[in-house]
């Protein structure tokens, strides 16, 4: 039978439809469900009230991340330290109790495997290519980097998946973001995705699933692809995905939850077959030239407010649309920036290297490379490096990166979401700036009144050294 050419997304979708309703809504099977403490308590409460069970506890993995302090979790005697904030403590203990109650695997805050859900999933081989993966967190899109169809869901949907291992969904439209060529030396996957969000805008991907295609993604590491897919949601798309290839298989092989033996061979054969067919068409296509991309930072309070580091703070009048002009005015006021100011003249007092966007080993290495043998600037008051998981932490320490980081005057912390959304004690003081490797620069995101500039780990490390927004290429020699 000759089939119509299909995209990667369409193939994964078709393989997971349990039931198609008349109106086109589909009941879709979910292969992997990640659960954390913030968006799950009300879902478990719902199950309890209705007397329902978790259908497939074996396809579900629970790990705390958002509320955990990034300071020591056990004392010198190995005793677990209490969580100071009573509400955080309550959410954390709810997860710790709910997981065993419903028979779900749980990684504890004190386990070495603990980390941010979106770091833990791929790292454990729990997230797999071609799988449908959900989590009550919008950055679930991250797992698209491994070739999964992964997206964030709300708490009622968390309950729906727990009870039925399915979701009711409508198929999305398909969008291709194609980047061919080579990224310039010093330009990282984070710069690329910030640039892409700047080009398509925060609503550009609404209703679409993005497939990132082209030689730039083919040459990129899995960790880089995770960074790119992570911020698909900042471009409005529910999910972003990169086709699984040899790089992906190499990354996954031997990870704890990855398939073994015969299953592994079957998996590889299927994973190779799900790539977008030649001749398959996308509903929308965006083409970007890799050569156009510079190290990029944000200046405003929307992730689309991006600018190359060599540029200046834009003036509201430079935007065509009146509502964007108004938004820019409000943003600039909040950010305390004057149009026309050179970005490299903007002083920064806080540094946050971490979050599910950029807290993997390659990110820590990139930051350490810049920090090596240097000292943090005097005006930088607070600078923390938060690994994405206990295993990333362990690896970094084995490579001596923690020493490079602390020698430079930055703090080396325990894994978690941390200052990405400041639900834990890691907050940026009101009115101060933060060079942050996270994914959102919304008003108050890193604490009330905080001013966030998004950038890559290498760029954030460069800011730590100079105390101002900096082109990392001016600080370290970058090999082509």
């Amino acid at each position: 039978m000759t089939e119509n050419p299909r995209t990667l997304y369409e193939k994964i979708w078709d393989a997971h439809v349990v039931d198609r309703q008349e109106d086109g809504t589909c009941l879709v099977y979910i292969d992997r469900h990640l659960v954390h403490e913030v968006t799950s308590p009300q879902a478990f409460e719902g199950l309890r009230v209705a007397g329902r069970k978790v259908r497939r506890p074996d396809l579900t993995l629970a790990v705390p991340d958002h509320n955990l302090p990034t300071t020591a979790r056990i004392d010198a005697d190995g005793k677990e330290l209490p969580i100071a904030d009573p509400q955080s403590a309550q959410q954390l203990s709810a997860l710790k109790a709910n997981a065993p109650d419903f028979g779900i695997r749980y990684i504890d805050a004190t386990d070495r495997e603990q980390g941010i859900v979106h770091v833990v999933g791929p790292e454990q081989g729990f997230s797999l290519p071609g799988a449908t993966i959900v989590c009550g967190d919008s950055h679930t899109a991250c797992h698209g980097g491994i070739g999964a169809l992964a997206f964030g869901i709300g708490t009622t949907e968390v309950e729906h998946v727990l009870a039925s291992q399915t979701l009711l969904l409508r198929q999305s439209k398909t969008m291709e973001v194609r980047v061919d060529g080579d990224l310039s030396p010093g330009v990282t996957p984070k710069d690329l995705i910030l640039h892409i969000v700047g080009v398509i805008g925060t609503a550009g991907g609404t209703g679409y699933v993005i497939e990132y295609r082209g030689s730039v993604f083919e040459k990129m590491s899995v960790e880089g692809r995770l960074t790119v897919c992570n911020m698909s949601i900042e471009g409005g798309a529910r999910a972003g995905i990169v086709a699984p290839d040899e790089t992906t298989f190499e990354y996954l092989k031997g990870r704890p939850y990855a398939p073994k033996g015969e299953d592994w061979d079957k998996a590889i054969a299927w994973w190779k077959s799900i790539a977008t067919d030649p001749g398959a068409s996308f509903d929308k296509s965006v083409v970007i030239d890799a050569a156009d991309i510079q190290p990029t930072v944000t200046w405003g309070t929307s992730p689309e407010d991006t600018v190359a580091i060599g540029g200046v703070v834009p003036s509201p009048e430079s935007f065509a649309d009146a509502s964007k002009q108004q938004a820019a005015k409000v943003s600039l006021e909040y950010m305390g920036l004057e149009p026309g100011t050179k970005l490299t003249d903007v002083e920064v007092e806080n540094i946050f290297i971490g979050s599910c966007t950029n807290s993997r080993i390659e990110d820590i290495r990139a930051a350490a490379k810049v920090l090596k043998g240097r000292k943090k600037a005097a005006n930088v008051k607070w600078a923390i490096v938060v690994p994405g998981s206990g295993l990333v932490k362990q690896q970094a320490e084995a490579e001596g990166l923690d020493r490079i980081i602390t020698d430079a005057g930055l703090e080396w912390r325990e894994p978690g979401c941390s200052a990405c959304l400041a639900m834990n004690p890691d907050k940026v003081p009101a009115g101060e700036r933060c060079a942050s490797t996270s994914n959102r620069n919304f008003t108050g995101r890193q604490g009330p009144g905080s001013r966030t500039h998004l950038m890559s780990p290498a760029m954030a490390a460069a800011v730590a050294i100079t105390g101002r927004l900096t082109d990392v290429r001016d600080l370290v020699e970058i090999q082509a």
Binding site: A94, G130, T156, H160, A163, S164, R238, M423
Partner: protein, 200 residues
């Protein structure tokens, strides 16, 4: 879930575009383990602005909110829908909504109505003085001044909202089909159908 067929009453003329979920309910309110009481934290930052509509007694308990493009963008937090519900809102009217937000709103029995910007502009004006009427049955928004705007809604969503149907219960009615899928997957996609039990 409460059935919803008709919403009539004061509409809060907010009108702002790109209202993200951090504006609707800031992160520090997410620490609750219950669905109730979030109305207090709704639009917390906006409520400190001079002359904002949320502290205007005229709109206290209003069942309708009027907003600008891309309402509910940002995070997937369902707390945004719970916060609106806790404020007493039953319906949000805007030119467009973020996908996740409109899904969350629907699952909690909040009707999201997308109308063109011209209609929004007119409703913003009417809401200064008069109530607005949203009828889900006929899919129309009307004002006391003969304005009449038709809106689209997915027929499944409409059916669920009108009857107050709980999605989880509906899906569990199809448990036979789910089991059938699982059997098929166990042989066809065994690597996805299970996780390795021995994993750490």
């Amino acid at each position: 879930m409460e059935p919803i067929s008709h919403v009539n009453g004061a509409a809060i003329p907010f009108g702002r575009k790109n209202v993200d979920t951090d504006v609707i309910i800031p992160a520090h309110w997410l620490k609750t383990i219950s669905r109730e009481g979030l109305g207090q934290g709704a639009f917390e930052a906006v409520k400190t602005e001079d002359g904002n509509v949320f502290v205007d007694p005229q709109y206290e308990g209003a069942p309708i909110l009027i907003a600008g493009d891309n309402f509910g963008c940002g995070s997937s937090r369902e707390h945004a829908a719970w916060a609106l519900l806790d404020m007493g809102l039953k319906c949000v009217i805007a030119p467009s909504f973020s996908d996740i937000f409109s899904g969350n709103a629907f699952k909690n029995g909040i009707l999201t109505v997308a109308l063109p910007q011209e209609a929004i502009d007119r409703l913003m004006e009417v809401a200064q003085t008069d109530p607005i009427d949203v009828d889900l049955e006929t899919q129309t928004v009307t004002t006391p001044f003969q304005d009449r705007y038709a809106f689209e809604i997915d027929s499944f969503r409409k059916h669920c909202l009108l009857n107050g149907l709980d999605e989880v219960g509906l899906t569990l009615g199809k448990v036979g089909k789910i089991a059938e899928y699982e059997d098929k997957a166990a042989s066809g996609l065994p690597f996805l159908a299970k996780t390795v039990a021995s994993a750490a």
